[in-house]
């Protein structure tokens, strides 16, 4: 029988942040940094199923809420890639993670614990994530009969929070996303979807979807990778 999921928390910036944990009694405990913003919601179920697969293989996994996301009591508008990087570092230490796995934009904030082995799937540039959110905002405004420009939104984001595709982002977040690329860290294992891992980019889809075969492929790969490097 699969281990039951449990919620633990880590302390960051005066708040208790949630981490969904499975199989934490194992010697290997992989901290999973999900894709950012809407992309996280679209593949959360697939990720949790991959965590169950890992637990079945005797590997622990923890999926953290980044401050301002999911059940977090913190405000998203107060966050930036820098605060998220610090939060990941705090979570890795407090929850005693032995490995770090980041998906998509998660790879923009995974480099605060360089002593741990890192794994990345389909790392994304911050500018691409930002551009999609800006385009979504402009398309929504257009349907409502309003004309909004990218330049106007970027300008507004210098002075205060802007709402982009349902996310209220502060000036620091917008500025950091515009230039962020996954940092070079070592050691890091980068996986390409469709080549190393069978599956489809659920994070790009308009609606959340499930993919049991992809969850199994992820669990297999994370199990093999984590066994090959410490823990």
């Amino acid at each position: 029988m699969s281990p039951r999921p449990e919620y633990r928390s880590y302390q960051f910036a005066g708040h208790d942040e949630n981490a969904l944990c499975l199989g934490m009694g194992a010697s290997r405990r992989i901290l999973i940094i999900p894709p950012l913003f809407d992309e996280m919601n679209r593949c959360r179920r697939m990720l949790v199923q991959a965590m169950r697969g890992l637990a079945d293989r005797g590997v622990g996994a923890l999926l953290i809420d980044l401050p301002g996301c999911n059940e977090s009591p913190a405000a998203l508008a107060d966050q930036s890639l820098s605060t998220w990087r610090e939060a990941v570092t705090a979570a890795a230490a407090q929850l005693e993670a032995t490995h770090i796995a980041a998906l998509r934009g998660g790879a923009l904030v995974d480099d605060g614990a360089p002593h741990l082995p890192h794994w990345r799937l389909a790392p994304a540039k911050g500018s691409s994530l930002l551009k999609t959110m800006i385009r979504t905002r402009i398309a929504g405004d257009k349907e409502a009969g309003k004309t909004t420009s990218e330049a106007g939104l970027i300008e507004a984001a210098r002075d205060g929070p802007v709402e982009l595709a349902g996310n209220v982002l502060g000036p620091a977040m917008v500025a950091e996303l515009a230039t962020a690329a996954p940092d070079e860290i070592a050691p890091v294992t980068v996986r390409v979807l469709g080549q190393d891992i069978a599956g489809s980019p659920l994070w790009l889809r308009a609606e959340p979807q499930d993919d049991p075969a992809m969850s199994a492929a992820l669990a297999d790969d994370l199990d093999r990778w984590s066994a090959s490097c410490g823990g």
């Binding site: 999609t132 959110m133 385009r135 979504t136 257009k142 990218e150 790009l204």
Partner: protein, 89 residues
């Protein structure tokens, strides 16, 4: 590595599968005349945002949103023609 225009069409087909979740067989059967916007329920104005960004990333092009009008997504052929023109720029 610059993109050769011949591979642009393949990339667009992959995008429709990956971003919109359209069945691969449906996408494989598309011809230049196959209508997209209004005919594919998966393609709405919100999905277009993600599609454009993925097109930029995979084809290594920049798309100025002012260039975009309703005709771009009218048919599979019009989308491929737009992408090929951008790759040549």
């Amino acid at each position: 590595m610059p993109f050769v225009p011949d591979s642009v069409e393949t990339t667009i087909r992959e995008l429709l599968v990956d971003v919109l979740g359209v069945a691969p067989a449906t996408v494989a059967a598309m011809t230049d005349d196959t209508p997209l916007f209004g005919a594919l329920p998966e393609l709405d104005s919100m999905a277009v945002a993600g599609l454009l960004t993925e097109m930029e990333d995979r084809l290594e092009i920049m798309i100025d949103d002012d260039d975009i009008d309703g005709d771009l997504f009218e048919s599979f052929g019009s989308l491929v023609a737009f992408a090929k023109a951008k790759v040549r720029e």
